[in-house]
Amino acid sequence: MQINYLALLPEIILAVFGIFVMLAVPFVPERMQTKLAYPALLGLLLAGAAALIFPRSSVQEGMLFHDAFGTFAKLLFFFSSGIVTLVSVSYLDRARLPHGEFYALLLFATVGMSLMANSADLIMTFLGLEILSIATYVLAGFRRHDVKSGESALKYFLLGSLSTAFLLYGIAFIYGATGTTKYAGIIQAVTVSTDRLLALLLGLGLLVVGFGFKAALVPFHVWTPDVYEGAPFPVTAHLAVSSKAAAFLALVRILYQVLPQLNAHWETIFWMSAFLTMALGNIVAVSQTNIKRMLAYSSIAHAGYLLLGVVANNRNGLQAVLFYLVSYALMTLGAFAVVQLIGRENEQAVSLEDYSGLAYRQPYLAAALSIFLISLAGIPATAGFMGKLFLFTAAIESHLYWLVVIGLLASAIGLYYYLRVIVFMYMREPGTEGLIVRVPASAAVAIAIMLAGVFYLGIFPGTFLRLASEAAHF
């Protein structure tokens, strides 16, 4: 069998760099460990370049696709992993956690995500998901002396394995119905006949459970707040952004490309889920006083908005989902980066009270966080608004009026809790302890990139929307 190594190059680069970073750990002196971030970043950069340079084709034989959609997904993953790496440098330093393993695990997780979104075979999808999950289980428990982090890892692991079992079971059903795990084969089998519809639907339902867990869609979201709260900050950011995006993209590929015939069924499922996800995420976020938990629920809410685009099931919807994933990544990673700095090494300052009067202690951090929150709330001139505009437009194009109304109401609720953080930062008197956090250069760079991105996508969305539009067909 002939293997197209060029097509696999980004993943190979990442894996090689990951192994290199891990092997380098014993040979690098203690105080130089921080520098291991450089090879990790370099690996992501090279992988991105490789993904861009080598030609794409929609022709697919074997286990992986090599198309525009997949490249878009890869670049998104590499970008957000790069940002997570940048942000974790100072975090790991101050928390005295090992650098090498962290970066290596992050790179492996990235390989997994990339395989997931590009896979052309359910087995490969499963493998990608497992690579991602196992790396992430370890990362969640990375603060191993912290009880909360341990709890987070254990919870994530137990529920995660369960959901993976569901996924596997789903794959088995689909195999039973169609006799193959290859996407191309499934497409053909479904087109020719839908005799074994029941088995196919069961398979689809179980797949939805598996991916719904990773993407934290209601009602498979229950793990989210605890795991997000306990995991180290950069890992929470990774979970909330990259891992979620990977699940979404893999799911979207299966729905749009492999099972478009079953659209009547999955549209109903996701209609319900979108409704529940938007409503629950926003409503529960209102009552949170811990900012990490609030962001966790907010990330659930945003998955709900994304589902609007999925349910819309039109070209605009898919393009909106891609665009929104990018803007969501920018604003959420940005918010997490700031929150992490303010939380300091032991993550003690994470309650809203700790943000009282922050604007007067640290005007730049407060301003940056405000902009990310305003973007999350969907106010114009930011990426969040444009993303929402596209999603809602796509939904209205498909006449999903009720879902749009629910989405709008949910956004209105969202305004309240995002603004509340701003209220604390700007309008409350400073609290008693006014510790000032030093902003390390690596985090500053990451935040600056995010800010620029939020405004760029908000004011000149054209370029990115065109990219998303080119990627939005199979």
């Binding site: 114009p380 709008l408 209105a412 309240y416 603004l419 054209g462």
Partner: protein, 503 residues
């Protein structure tokens, strides 16, 4: 040309960012200079504007982003109605900045937000693309939110959050309406002019139910902004807690966006729904007029009194707009301008006394005319203009509205006339308690009269109030044809209905 208008305050804000925070007077004067330059520019636009045509002038149209199913443009232009509101905005802005000298905390951010607010407000009045309009409409909330929340009074957080949530939630529904309208237009563009024309020519049609729902979606956003009874509850809080300049701009310009939206969007886009719902909305307007006036009467706080008087005066504006005739709508537009001048000035006046005494309770004053003669005199002039004394600005608008409304709905006009009496009652009663009689409180005996800066804020306002009262033609001439166009659109619907009935 219009882009320059947006750029002047935006660049001012950018420049402000570069000045070190310690150089207070440099910050103040930069902000003032930027807003004054915007005023000069818009005055030139006013001069160049040709009154004879209803077409958009100084238009500019550039694609903003055009991908897949999207075609959004940066499209701006002015007609007679928006021209006047732009002028009002740029006129009030330097005065508002001038009245912010008492701001000490975070001055740079304050001035920056003021200028950004100006960009947002001007953007709303000149946008002709629905998405662009929405962007400015929402953006403008952010600086206002911070202005109230950081520099406001005691209950500022409550007021700021309430203001933001109320207005933003209402506009979200409008966003859905905009998108539906876009698909009704065949997914062609968000171009307001194009959609209005196509609707008028019958090239695109909306089913009655769709039109009704769309009307509601737009109307809610504007009704909250106006604010029309019963959507007014955010207003007293926001007005009272906002810093002086914030109240001036809030009353002077922000509220006008509601009226402007009704004229620019609701009536021309959805004439049938407007006609059908006209009576109900007029009832709400009349309730607002009388309710606002009655509540104003019993307020112990001067600023609150002025805030409720706004509810009453703007009810009149809505009543005029939904009378659907030339006289009433011109009156409504005129009333928006004149309310901006009078109420803006009243808030500035209240701010001046608050700076001295740190209270606004009517009960804390009395006999101020003895210690502050200049202040009292200017207050009287502005107060009379707000009541609608002939010869000053308020009268013209109110008279035209009542005249026009009488032609369309005489009972409503008869009820609305009450506002002229009631406003005289609450305003003059307040004046009597604050300024006349003996000095009741020792603290007030040594209050200094207005300084040069404060007189410089008020004199232009008084001058304009007089000018608008005597030479109303200067302004009305500019909007004549634009208003006529709105009316024609409405009348085409009315005759259509009459013909139907005849058959």
């Amino acid at each position: 040309m219009l882009t320059t208008l947006l750029l002047i305050p935006a660049l001012g804000a950018g420049f402000l960012f570069l000045i070190p925070a310690a150089r207070i007077s440099a910050i103040r004067w930069t902000a003032f200079a930027a807003s004054a330059a915007a005023f000069v520019w818009s005055a030139l636009l006013f001069k160049w504007f040709e009154a004879g045509t209803a077409a958009m002038q100084f238009s500019q149209r550039v694609p903003w982003f055009q991908v897949g199913g999207f075609n959004v443009r940066y499209q701006v232009g002015l007609d007679g109605i928006s021209l006047l509101l732009v002028l009002l905005t740029t006129f009030l802005m330097p005065l508002a900045i001038l009245s912010s000298w008492s701001i000490k905390r975070q001055l740079k951010a304050y001035m920056g937000f003021m200028l950004l607010l100006e960009v947002g407000m001007l953007g709303v009045f000149i946008s002709l693309d629905l998405i662009l309009f929405y962007v400015f409409w929402e953006i403008m909330l952010i600086p206002m939110y911070f202005l109230i929340g950081i520099w406001g009074g005691e209950r500022r957080i409550y007021a700021a959050v309430k203001f933001f949530i109320y207005t933003a939630a209402a506009s979200l529904i409008m966003l859905a309406g905009i998108i539906v309208l876009y698909y009704a237009n065949g997914g062609d563009s968000f171009d307001l002019i194009q959609i209005t024309e196509r609707l008028a020519e019958g090239r695109i049609t909306l089913s009655p139910v769709t039109e009704f729902l769309l009307f509601i979606a737009f109307f809610l956003a504007f009704a909250v902004k106006v604010p029309l009874f019963p959507f007014h509850t955010w207003l007293p809080d926001a007005h009272v807690e906002a810093p002086t300049a914030g109240s001036v701009i809030l009353a002077g310009v922000l509220l006008k966006m509601g009226g402007y939206g009704l004229l620019r969007f609701c009536l021309p886009l959805f004439p049938k729904a407007s006609l059908a719902l006209g009576p109900i909305i007029s009832v709400l307007a009349v309730i607002g007029i009388i309710y606002g006036a009655l509540v104003a009467m019993v307020q112990p706080d001067v600023k609150k009194l002025v805030a409720y008087s706004s509810v009453s005066h703007l009810g009149l504006v809505v009543l005029g707009i939904f009378a659907f005739n030339q006289v009433a709508i011109e009156g409504a537009t005129y009333q928006m301008l004149s309310h901006g001048i009078s109420t803006g000035a009243l808030f500035a006046l209240v701010g001046m006394i608050y700076d001295r005494r740190h209270t606004r309770e009517i009960g804390d004053f009395g006999g101020l005319a003895h210690v502050m003669p200049v202040y009292s005199a200017l207050f009287m002039v502005i107060l009379l203009s707000s009541i609608g004394l002939p010869g000053l600005n308020g009268f013209v608008g109110e008279f035209l509205i009542l005249q026009g409304t009488f032609l369309a709905r005489s009972t409503f006009a008869a009820l609305a006339v009450l506002t002229m009496i009631l406003s005289a009652v609450y305003m003059l009663w307040m004046y009597q308690r604050v300024f006349l009689g003996n000095i009741t409180k020792e603290e007030n005996r040594l209050l200094p009269d207005l300084n040069f800066r404060e007189v410089a804020i008020l004199l232009p306002l008084v001058a304009v109030a007089l000018w608008m009262g005597v030479q109303s033609g200067t302004f009305i001439r500019k909007m004549d044809t634009s208003v006529q166009k709105v009316i024609e659109r409405m009348e085409s619907q009315q005759t259509f209905r009459v013909e139907n009935r005849a058959n």
